[in-house]
């Protein structure tokens, strides 16, 4: 993991994912603001239990309305994912604007890689348990 400038011709992840996330945010905002119907979770309707991403749309609605506490309690993992995307976009926009070196995950230590893997699975399961407990 190190900071470096892009090699010539190397895929510019910052530019790519900034564009993708900003476009996705505009589309999501457009759908929610226009009152178009949002997808329903058939798993939830069939079983009565939430799927791991249930409440994602409501979290986005709360965020758009500025209700951070409600967004966090609706689906904490989706809330954190939105926050992570926002942080990444700030980083990406900064590197593009000021031509800064980029963070690249090269030669990630095994302990760190395994830690991220275990942490991600644990976070997903804990979030799902939270949603089931609350019967979202």
């Amino acid at each position: 993991m190190r900071w470096r400038h892009l090699h010539p011709g190397e895929l510019d992840h910052e530019r790519l994912w900034l564009a993708v996330t900003v476009c996705a945010a505009f589309i999501g905002w457009g759908i929610l603001a226009s009152g178009l119907p949002t997808p329903r979770c058939i798993w939830h309707e069939m079983t009565g239990f939430p799927c791991p991403c249930c409440g994602g749309t409501r979290t986005a609605r709360h965020l758009l309305a500025g209700r951070l506490d409600a967004a966090l309690s609706t689906n904490p993992l989706v809330f954190l994912a939105f926050a992570a995307v926002l942080l990444y976009d700030i980083y990406a926009a900064s590197t593009l604007l000021f031509r800064l070196p980029r963070l690249r995950l090269e030669e990630v230590p095994h302990w760190l890689g395994n830690g991220v893997r275990i942490g991600t699975v644990a976070a997903l399961l804990a979030n799902w348990a939270w949603l089931i407990t609350r019967r979202m």
């Binding site: 010539p8 190397e10 476009c23 979770c41 058939i42 799927c51 890689g113």
Partner: protein, 314 residues
């Protein structure tokens, strides 16, 4: 000092000078492997650059290619490669040779190869060269499929509305039936809006989907090549399967399922990992996003198995 290492016609990554020396001593690198670092005019065999570490210099034809001169070469195209478009024998699919084949034939050949011979196709798929080329393939077919599907939808919807308005009365406001032309016109406008929305939504979702798959593949320790490789597999697999969406009614679901199957195979072959990890990278994001999808798979496969058992019992 960081060195870019190329082996067997492919870039093996960037390593520090110490790492290169230790890997040479451990025989993880061969003296004939090539290296390049800033300040070097061209690639050199490790035996030349690290003469003290290696015992005997190995002559290697580095050609006159500076990998950082043209952008395409720098993104992973190895030095000394005869093939101008790929690394080693990875030059496929046909879309990569569209300049010589022509675009229509390249599309047809690529779709046939991806859908009917996915193992062979992805085992020889070019892993580098940017994301623009496969994305163009995906978008051409996706755009055609979206437009044709909206036309189907508009025709079916319009026909149904015409029939309903003729059969029923009092469905409009004030118990006045809406004129059929107005209903069909509304359906056409909705179809055009839907088509434009899909043309914006589909490419955005494609990038997000590829990112999720690559992240999952990294979680499974199966991502032996960069995001570009995953994107290429998904673009060719989804693009080719989009052709099936041109079949009315059932084409969409068949195309979707086949795209999943081809993507699983493709990720395994392109990343030099197991097909099981390819399956995991394709299905786990779906399962996490909505467990329903797994239930749907189970239902479809369960139905197929039950039907097969019933027919064999008879």
């Amino acid at each position: 000092m960081q060195y870019h290492i190329a082996r067997n016609g492919q870039q093996a990554g960037t390593f520090s000078e110490e790492d290169v020396r230790s890997k040479l001593l451990l025989n993880e690198f061969s003296p004939s492997d090539l290296c390049w670092t800033e300040g070097m005019a061209d690639w050199q065999p490790l035996s030349v650059r690290f003469a003290q570490t290696t015992s005997a210099p190995v002559a290697a034809d580095t050609g006159a290619i500076n990998p950082y001169a043209p952008p395409q070469a720098s993104a992973g195209q190895p030095p000394g490669s005869d093939a101008p478009t790929g690394s080693g024998d990875r030059t496929g699919p046909a879309w990569e040779q569209r300049a010589t084949l022509g675009i229509p034939r390249a599309i047809v050949d690529t779709c046939k190869a991806v859908l009917l011979q996915p193992t062979q196709t992805f085992a020889t798929m070019k892993r580098d060269g940017g994301i623009g080329v496969p994305f163009a393939f995906f978008m051409i077919i996706a755009s055609i499929a979206i437009i044709v599907n909206q036309i189907y939808g508009t025709i079916f919807q319009g026909t149904m509305l015409s029939l309903m308005s003729g059969l029923t009365a009092g469905t409009g406001s004030g118990d006045q039936p809406l004129p059929a032309a107005a209903m069909v016109g509304g359906s056409v406008v909705a179809g055009i809006i839907g088509m434009i929305a899909m043309l914006i939504f589909v490419p955005i979702w494609h990038f997000i989907w590829c990112g999720l798959m690559h992240a999952t593949l990294m979680m499974l320790k199966g991502a032996n090549h960069p995001f570009e490789t995953t994107f290429r597999v998904a673009s060719y697999a989804s693009g080719a399967a989009m052709v099936l969406h041109l079949v009315p009614i059932c084409g969409g679901i068949i195309g979707w399922v086949w795209a999943m199957v081809v993507t699983c195979i493709g990720l395994g072959k392109a990343h030099d990992t197991s097909t099981e990890k390819g399956i995991g990278a394709t299905l786990i994001p779906l399962a996490v996003c909505c467990v329903l999808v797994v239930g749907l798979y189970a239902a479809v496969f369960g139905t197929l198995v039950a039907a097969a058992a019933k027919s064999s019992g008879n």
